[in-house]
């Protein structure tokens, strides 16, 4: 999909994000290898979303660094994309939303239309192409946001609780899309508080608590034999904050 050279692995080194004297992300280090699915878990306020935003470049770390293998931007095209908890759609058609995203990259205007249509068709959204994006249902909007991210052909996709506002059917649809992206070779980094979802999707788990990374553990091991006391409590549903 991206030829031989890759922006991965992604390395976070001593990643710290401080606001008003409080370290909301505190000296977090981890590695994301190519083609893997990393699920960031942890109770509310653990710093999951902030960690994603730091990796995606929406926030600048107070200290520490995020390093990609080589340039994370090639020909003005960002090679990692993000899907948010609540999709933000522009007041235009579903198709035009994807075209708009592509217009911010170096896709030529002829390619944009074709690529956008391909993205909608690939994920069963072709019928919605002409519909105004903002009157679609929450599930449809999130699937559209996923298709929009796919159209950008990123090597890494960050997802911030992509299904937490969705009903079970829409959640399943989004999970299927994540699986399809992964099958295409895309690397996934996602936060969720849904344990079932994490079990279904994770290759490795990053467990955060109070801004600190307590473990980076292969998924099977994390759910069977978590290394930290907090993770054990979290899996039992006893650790909420």
């Amino acid at each position: 999909m991206h030829g031989s050279f890759s922006i991965l692995p992604l390395r976070a080194d001593g990643l710290t994000y401080v606001i008003r004297g409080r370290a909301l992300v505190d000296n977090v280090s981890f590695v994301v290898a190519r083609g893997t699915r990393t699920i960031i878990m942890g109770p509310n306020g653990a710093g999951k979303s902030l960690t994603l935003r730091l990796c995606h470049g929406l926030l600048q770390p107070s200290s520490g660094s995020v390093t990609w293998n080589g340039a994370a931007q090639v020909n003005g095209r960002k090679r990692h994309a993000m899907v948010f908890q609540r999709p933000v759609m522009l007041r235009r058609s579903a198709l035009a939303n994807v075209v708009h995203a592509l217009s911010l990259t170096r896709f030529s205007s002829a390619d944009r239309q074709a690529r956008a249509s391909e993205a909608l068709a690939r994920f069963g959204l072709a019928e919605l192409a002409r519909r105004p994006a903002r009157i679609l249902s929450g599930g449809e909007q999130q699937r559209l946001a996923m298709a929009r991210a796919w159209a950008l052909d990123p090597e890494v996709l960050f997802l911030d609780e992509p299904t937490s506002a969705l009903d079970p059917a829409a959640t399943r649809a989004v999970e299927e899309m994540i699986e399809a992206f992964h099958a295409d070779g895309m690397t996934i980094v996602m936060t969720t508080h849904d344990l079932g979802q994490a079990r279904r999707l994770a290759d490795q788990v990053l467990f955060l608590h109070h801004g600190r990374l307590l473990e980076q553990t292969p998924a099977e091991e994390f759910f069977e034999r978590p290394r930290s006391e907090a993770a054990r409590a979290f899996i039992k549903g006893e650790l909420l904050w």
Partner: protein, 233 residues
């Protein structure tokens, strides 16, 4: 009794398609709509830029534009008069006491309204869209057309506010236009003049037309805006 007669005469003037009345109405609309167009061309991008740009003195500019929304028309008229008068810096244009001067004065009056309201709309939208747009790789500059287009329904209100201000004011165009019959006489200046001269019929007729135009324009904008918004979500 006189008022009643004046009202009947006014209706007669309107219904008979009086030529003088028609001329005044057409000139008024031409001046105001041209000023509105120029103000929108300047004010929409400027307001959006002011919403997104971060530079020292930005707050000062924001407050200044907000304050200029309340610029008294006579002061705007006086400023334009001084600029365009024979000894003024733009006196060589020779447009004082012409419709062009009136357009300049009204543009000066309503541009701050469009700038300030646009800034507010775009700032609010940016709050909602910022993460998504930055994630997609959009710079603030690239976000300007996107946000103006997405704010189009709210921006109609900004444009209407500008139209309302321009069509209602008399001070600025009276000073720089001079209320010359058949040349720079508009609905508002004519109403002021005819009322003081006691020709209530013409004044009243013009008043009715002015109200009617303002009302139907706002109603049309409201209805189309609502329908379009419903369709676009």
């Amino acid at each position: 009794m006189q008022q009643e007669n004046a009202f009947t005469t006014a209706l007669n003037l309107i219904l008979s398609g009086d030529a003088v009345l028609g001329e005044i109405v057409v000139l008024s609309l031409a001046v105001t709509l041209t000023a509105l167009l120029v103000s929108a061309i300047i004010g929409l991008p400027l307001g959006a830029a002011l919403a997104l740009a971060r530079f020292p003195g930005r707050s000062f500019l924001v407050v200044t534009f907000n304050a200029l929304m309340g610029l008294p028309p006579v002061v705007a008229g006086l400023a334009v008069y001084l600029m365009l008068s024979r000894s003024g810096p733009l006196g060589w244009l020779g447009i004082l006491f012409s419709p062009s001067a009136m357009i300049v004065a009204q543009t000066l009056l309503i541009t701050p309204i469009i700038v300030s309201l646009t800034r507010q709309v775009v700032e609010d939208l940016w709050g909602e869209y910022e993460e998504q747009l930055r994630s997609l790789g959009s710079s603030r500059l690239q976000a300007i057309p996107t946000l103006l287009w997405d704010g189009r329904f709210s921006l109609i209100t900004a444009i209407l506010a500008g139209f309302g201000r321009a069509s209602a004011e008399v001070g600025a165009i009276l000073i720089v236009g001079g209320n010359i019959a058949g040349y720079t006489r508009t609905m508002t200046t004519a109403i002021a003049l005819e009322t003081s001269r006691g020709d209530l019929a013409l004044a009243l007729g013009l008043g009715i037309i002015l109200l009617g135009i303002t009302l139907s324009l706002n109603a049309a904008a409201y209805v189309t805006g609502r329908l379009a918004q419903k369709a676009a979500g």
